[in-house]
Symmetry: none
Subunit: 197 residues, 4 copies
């Protein structure tokens, strides 16, 4: 891997662990096997390095989400919604560094990025809402899901995503996915058309 790329990866990890102030160029350089001034051969400073790092993280994340919402036609709404949970959470459980960085950016952005980040998340949510809305609309049309204001359905699903997302930080893989299934079942029971009545 190129030194430049290596620096960026290390920076991402250290940012996730320690935050912007807490990560030092010395530590990054040490782990990359170079000396701090060498970083300036690739990036114009700490901020620049971080800017390039964080952009990549967000792009990754967006790409992942987009991927999940495409090719969804062949499945039922139930399967799609369940699948989305699984895929997103698997990603977060596996890419823990990226996820930690993501959380830091979301909740505690460095002040010089606050606006930028805020806009990103705004767009992200809108995109998610649009995509989910389609899925719920189809689910209602197919009589899989109880008729209800689609916006409300989206809202609750996003809350489910958020809750699970936060919990990826507390539990180990096995425990987490056991919980996920249990939670999913109750969630689905609340919105599915009850065919047993």
């Amino acid at each position: 891997m190129s030194t430049k790329k290596k620096i960026k990866l290390i920076a991402a990890r250290l940012y996730a662990e320690k935050g912007f102030k807490g990560m030092t160029l010395k530590e990054i350089a040490d782990e990359a096997g170079i000396k701090p001034p060498s970083i300036y051969a690739f990036y114009s400073g700490k901020k620049d390095l971080f800017l390039q790092t964080y952009k990549e993280i967000l792009d990754d994340h967006l790409h992942l989400l987009k991927g999940q919402f495409e090719h969804r036609d062949t499945y039922s709404a139930r399967e799609t919604l369940h699948q989305i949970l699984l895929i997103i959470m698997t990603y977060h459980m596996e890419e823990t560094e990226k996820t930690k960085m993501f959380i830091r950016l979301m909740l505690f952005p460095p002040s010089f990025l606050k606006e930028d980040i805020s806009e990103y998340f705004h767009n992200l949510e809108n995109m998610e809402r649009r995509m989910l809305k389609k899925i719920f609309d189809e689910g209602i049309t197919n009589e899989e899901i109880q008729f209800r204001d689609t916006e409300a359905l989206v809202t609750a699903y996003l809350c489910l995503l958020d809750g699970l997302f936060l919990e990826t930080q507390y539990y180990d893989k096995e425990e987490f996915f056991r919980r996920l299934e249990s939670i999913w079942e109750q969630y689905w029971a609340g919105i599915a058309v009850n065919r047993n009545c």
Copy 2:
């Protein structure tokens, strides 16, 4: 207010905003209207100040939770569970600084507190689970809630709490509580005994 108390409050806020490294004694002193060395008249150092601050935050939080779970006998399970959501989230929407500090501690504890924090959250969850278990058991006995493994019910409710908790960070008060109601309704529908069948 005493200077000592003032310092602690400012420290809590700045920790919430910037983290341990990011908050500086200079800034704390400036806001308190004193000079940095004066802080040492009350705390033996930055770490000590932080330790005393964080202990208070956690005690506050624990106290709040305990308060919510007491005196619950007169209400139905539905009311109790709904009320818990409302009270906890109201606290977090109002005490935004303490909540931010709480989140930082939970997700990105300073290394010298990792163990301590970890133990605290472990105890916290156990306590919550015990209390919620009782509520759900009673709900099932009263035929308000569908018969189901109580542990699973607790797990899902905690996930709901987590999701909402995270969302206190994104939305304004009005928007947040609108969402809360919508989410609650769907959640309750998933676990309540369906009397219309």
Copy 3:
């Protein structure tokens, strides 16, 4: 003992151990069971406290020396010279703090005392030389000591004192006095009139 006196004694000890910069008013106050500002009730500052302390040390020392040289008439030169060694060294072995302080003052005086101290030691040496000269003159007159330039005898005796003085810092009491006797014997053999020839 009065607090004022207590402070002075503690200051002396701490100066001996750590030097002027190394001793802090906090530490002095702690040991005296008071708070640092209270020292200002007795002394106008650290320098003043030290000035009063060091003056007492030097006065003590001078007083001791003077005492040794008086009342010497009844003894032989041999006994007198031997006795002086014993008494001075006993003092230094017993009053280790005062001795340490004395050494510090002599070798590493705080810059604001350099001149003062230098003058003191100049006077001290002159006084010692005068007194010793008398003893040696009498010793030569009595044919106890070989005829020789009295100044040279004084010089060698002072060197003996210095050597032993330094060694009070290295050895324990027993070991030290064993050495002293052995050294004294050889010294005396070098200057005594050899009656066996």
Copy 4:
């Protein structure tokens, strides 16, 4: 000279003058024509700088002593013992800084070095005693020196060394060496075989 070496030399001098606490990185930097943080390019802190400095001082000193005791076979005991005095004292009169540092280390070691220093001086004395013992044994065999317990002879010679050593701090070169000769003569008279009887 390299900046690193320059810093070390200045540190040694300032330590000699003012002790560990009294010497400041600011002053060292000023004299070296750099700024305090630059010192950290060469040493990891004040302690480290001091450690490297003091090690060199002790090594120097040991090296000097060892040098004096070698190649002594061709000389008489008298010449050897006299020569040792001269060479050691010449060193101390010329390397006044190193000697002052040496004295400070010996009498007032920084607490973090106490053990280390103590062990060093212990070893030093043992080495000196061994070497001197040989010289005295040979001196007795050659009938230059009166028969006597060799340990006692060594003890007295070391006391002579100590006395002169301390006096290197009081007198100027000329005065000092005049005294030395006078002292030496009386010392030697006390242990030499008296051929005139």
